[in-house]
Symmetry: C3
Amino acid sequence: MTTPTFGDSLTALRNTAPLIHCITNYVAMNSTANLLLVTGASPAMLHATQEVSEFTALADALSVNIGTLSSPWAEAMLLAARTAHEHDTPWVLDPVAVGATRYRQTVCADLLALKPSVIRGNASEILALNGLAHQGKGVDATASTDDAITAAMALAERQQCIVAMTGERDRVTNGKAGFTINGGHSLMPRVTTLGCGLSALVAAFVAANPDEPMNASSAAVACFAAAGKRAGENAQGPGSFYVAFLDALYQLTPDELSHFAQREVSDAL
Amino acid sequence: MTTPTFGDSLTALRNTAPLIHCITNYVAMNSTANLLLVTGASPAMLHATQEVSEFTALADALSVNIGTLSSPWAEAMLLAARTAHEHDTPWVLDPVAVGATRYRQTVCADLLALKPSVIRGNASEILALNGLAHQGKGVDATASTDDAITAAMALAERQQCIVAMTGERDRVTNGKAGFTINGGHSLMPRVTTLGCGLSALVAAFVAANPDEPMNASSAAVACFAAAGKRAGENAQGPGSFYVAFLDALYQLTPDELSHFAQREVSDAL
Amino acid sequence: MTTPTFGDSLTALRNTAPLIHCITNYVAMNSTANLLLVTGASPAMLHATQEVSEFTALADALSVNIGTLSSPWAEAMLLAARTAHEHDTPWVLDPVAVGATRYRQTVCADLLALKPSVIRGNASEILALNGLAHQGKGVDATASTDDAITAAMALAERQQCIVAMTGERDRVTNGKAGFTINGGHSLMPRVTTLGCGLSALVAAFVAANPDEPMNASSAAVACFAAAGKRAGENAQGPGSFYVAFLDALYQLTPDELSHFAQREVSDAL
């Protein structure tokens, strides 16, 4: 589990083009599909209760994002996550704004019981999710980054999963060890739903590299960090940044990713 | 209430980064989120009846757009608008295609009763909404621009709100006075849902400048007009226009907005 | 029915700016609206059962895409398709992933009974739809292109409609004759929902050219092929490709389309 293998993870993704079943929010659907396609995975968005389990059973991985949650969608998420759990299909939970309302906390508690392979969120969401799983508490927006690392590790250990926490510096952990990933660009928070798309890309990397989920999740995060850095070089603002980001993910080679990882990724959390 | 203060309104928006609860149509969700983010506001899209009131109560403003209406969404819109009304939270109504079907007229009548702070629409929609509130009539697509100004003023006066009516020349009125705003670009109608995004940006400006809703609404409209003019200078078509428009909103400074307003905004309706 | 008339079909589209009622998937909504707008048609997305028939009756054509299907949407699609059928309004069916689940097969069987004017899909979808209509079978992903042509012609003949089948080489047939259309670009499959948007553009072309649906459908397909070829010339990846593609559709002249058709379109299937 060393950073130079990130390039191999990307090669595996491109060679297998895994089919990723995405149940995500309305805002993110188009950009998530594009982010998967440009990197080399195959997206599919569907959620009807009549077909969702049937399709999850065919997919190589599942990505669930609760952004624009409602009752029929929560039902679909639970059906799909249960199918993934029963088939040992990797699945990723993106707990958007879980600390904001009681409804989100309830749905996330039900989803956590179905054992996501990876949880991908920002520091506030990881703190909220850890408090939820632990004590039923909500988000603590004023908590420090150190607190978020501790929460991420606690959550990963308790859930026996990977936690990929993104922000100015990204952290990926299995509860015991992990990676810190630098890079990216200050314009990234000005483009909507990049994080949602990253959750789906994490699912794609884990599908293509099922034996090393922490490494695979970190490679996905590093792809975004590397492409973000490249895209920021000539961007005039968030509009041209997003276009360049899609191009940069498409152009990113396994060698470039491994070299980026050697410079910008450390195994200290 | 003079146009040079438009720059101050933009400064206030960027300093406060207001949280805007958007209940909008599926077509507009991604671009609305991006248009808010690039200008300096913080978007949130959610609509489940289990959480919508809880979230509106936290938000700095609400933006309701009926584009891809259906029963569960209409219920969410009414719950959110009622919460906004009860909390004195500013809220904007975007009555997409209200003249097209009876269902839209019924839902809009219910929403109007909850006293939106601002109504943002095109001339046909303002005419239809005025006819609806007044006489239960539909849209008159053949009406002249002068008729639309009269309807906009009548609607604003009766509803005791601001009406922001956009088209080749934009008009913002409180029923007694107002602004006419030039600028923009002929490619803008070739990019989908820019108007929907403007409604959310109006909500953000009013949230950041709660004491002067007409000025704030006009400043939001002028942002679009200024950024549209800039974006059109080098655009090759609607695709490159949209990218440049996002960049231009991001780059627009308060000084540039005030200078634009001095040239392109008049207080004659 | 000769390829040089494709330019005339585009002229008719731009002169009439037909109103296209789109009931499509969440992923495709924004790009479909933009693809229609840049080419010269007028999109409208709405699906509430309270208004869908009322609106279809006003529209110049209907486009139905089952991508992110669910019960309320299936109900809306059937209501709209029935209205289109009763009013002799042209309507297009895009049977996304019809072979993937039994639910899609059931809904598509119901839609086929309402006689779409055009079916637009990829080879797998056309094979699945033909098997479905014929024998109730699913998709055969391993079938050859020749098999897909035979299935397309059989489906067109049995349904008495046009089948527009897209891929590396596009084919449009009425069951007896048709066109093969080259062009496009290898980046097109890396951009999500271009095919979904094409289905709506086919509806727009048929609305503007109601007397020659096969020619009109082919002209729409040729627009995409011509604009894709142009957009690919300077694209750095899928992000810049999509931007250039929207610009190229906007800039495409009827003369350019006819000249493209002379080089890249043949009447051999």
